[in-house]
C-alpha cells in the first residue's frame, strides 16, 4: 500500500501556475498545469508526460460537463499519477461471483451494461461493500470508479465527492 492521495471531486479550474512561483520552487518540472478541485484540493499535471495532453483534454471535458474526476496524487510532488472517470449510478443486485478469489462480488450498476466486480483482495472491500449495500437498500446514488479491467477501486455516496484517501 503506498501513500497516494485520492481525490474524487469536480474540477474547479485548470490553469498555468504563475511563472515566478514555478521559478522560485525550482525543483518543479517546467511544464505544469494546476488542477484545482471544488473542495479546495489542488494538484499538478506534468505536461512533459506522454499521457498529459490527453489527461488535460479529459479534465477540461469533465470541467465543462460538471462531472467528477478520480485522481491519484503523489503526496510529495502533488503531481497527478492517475486519472479515471467515476460513474454516477444506482445499485442493483449484489451477489457473490464464483470467479476470482474469496468473497469477490459482482455488482449491478444502473445504468451500465458492463459487469462490475468488487474484489475481496481490495483493502477497502468491506467499506465499499457496505456503501454499495446501503445505497442498494436506500435506492440512492453512488459514485463508482473502476480500473480499466472493470474492477471497482473506489465507491462513495454521491455528494461525498471530495474525500481524500490513501491507496
Amino acid at each position: 500500500m503506498d501513500n497516494t492521495n485520492i481525490v474524487v471531486d469536480l474540477v474547479q479550474s485548470i490553469s498555468v501556475p504563475p511563472l515566478p512561483t514555478a521559478e522560485k520552487q525550482g525543483e518543479l518540472p517546467p511544464q505544469l498545469l494546476v488542477v484545482s478541485f471544488h473542495r479546495g484540493q489542488s494538484s499538478f499535471l506534468d505536461m512533459s508526460q506522454p499521457r498529459a495532453a490527453v489527461w488535460a483534454e479529459v479534465l477540461d471535458s469533465l470541467y465543462q460537463e460538471k462531472q467528477p474526476a478520480y485522481v491519484e496524487i503523489d503526496p510529495e510532488t502533488r503531481i497527478i499519477t492517475e486519472l479515471l472517470i467515476p460513474i454516477s449510478v444506482t445499485v442493483g443486485e449484489i451477489h457473490p461471483t464464483s470467479e476470482g478469489e474469496g468473497k469477490d462480488v459482482e455488482v449491478e450498476l444502473i445504468i451500465s451494461h458492463a459487469k462490475h466486480f468488487l474484489r475481496s483482495k481490495h483493502p477497502d472491500f468491506q467499506r465499499f461493500l457496505k456503501i454499495l449495500q446501503d445505497a442498494q437498500r436506500q435506492g440512492t446514488q453512488v459514485l463508482v470508479t473502476e480500473s480499466d479491467e472493470n474492477e471497482i477501486i473506489d465507491v462513495r455516496p454521491l455528494g461525498e465527492t471530495a474525500e481524500g484517501g490513501q491507496k
Partner: protein, 265 residues
Amino acid sequence: MAITLQRARELFDLVNRKLCCPASSPSPCIPFLYPDDGCWGRAHEMCRLIIADGATPRKVWIYGNLRVDTANNPSCNVRWGWHVAPTLRVSTGSGSQTYVIDPSLFDRPVQQSTWVSVQGDASATTASTDASVFYRAYNGSVQYDPTYSETRAVLTRYRNILKLRSASSNGPPPYFNCLTKPRGVQWFGTIGPRQTHRWYTWGWPSSWHVFWTIMPLTQCPGGPQLTWTVQVERASTSQCTYWIIVKNLTSDSVKFEGRYDILKR
C-alpha cells in the same frame, strides 16, 4: 416498413462514419471502439441519426450472462449483463427479417439471430422496443430521453474513457494480443502521434520482387493516417534487407500491420 438490405448497409455506414478516433474522440463521434460499456447511449444516438435519414428503427435488448470476443478490449473480450442496438426490418424474397445495426460488434448489418449468437449465452432473452426507449431494465421498466441530453452525457463519458484507455500503456485499439497475424503480414507495429519510425526485415531473397503496404489497424475516419517509404539493402549475393520508414500523419497513436506481397519469385 421493410427496407432493402442495400439501404440497411447505407444506414450502417451512416452511423459507422461517426466512429470516434480512439485518442482524439472529438464530439459528436460515437465511441464504438469502447465496447465495454455505454451501449444504450450509442444505440439512442444511432437511432437519432437513422430516423433523421428517413428510416424507422426499433431497438433489440438482450439480457443474460453475455461475453463477447473483441480485439477492442485489452482482455480480448467484454462481459455484459445486457446489451442493446438498433434494428431495421429488411425485405427478403419471402417476407422480411430483423437486422441489427451494431458497429461495436460487426462491420455490417447482421440478422438478429447472428447478433444474439455472438454474445455467448444460449439462454439469453431478448425484447424489442420502439426507438424512443432510452433504457429498458430486465423487468420491463423503461426510461426515455427525448431531448438526447442523457445520450450526450453517456457518449461524452465513454469518449473520455476511450481516450484515457488509448493514452495508457495499452495504447489505442485494436490490441495485438487479440489478433492472429494473417498470412502476408510481416509484423504489427504502433507509432506515436506525428512520429516517424523505421523498421527492418532481413533475409529476403534478392531475386524476389516484394511489395510492401502499411495498413492502419486503428480506425480513424476522416483523413490519411500513415505514409511510408521502402528502402532496400543488398546484404549478400542472395539476400536483401528492407528498411521501411513509417510516418504517422495524425495526432493519435496508430496501430498498423506491415503487409508484403511477393509479386515475383
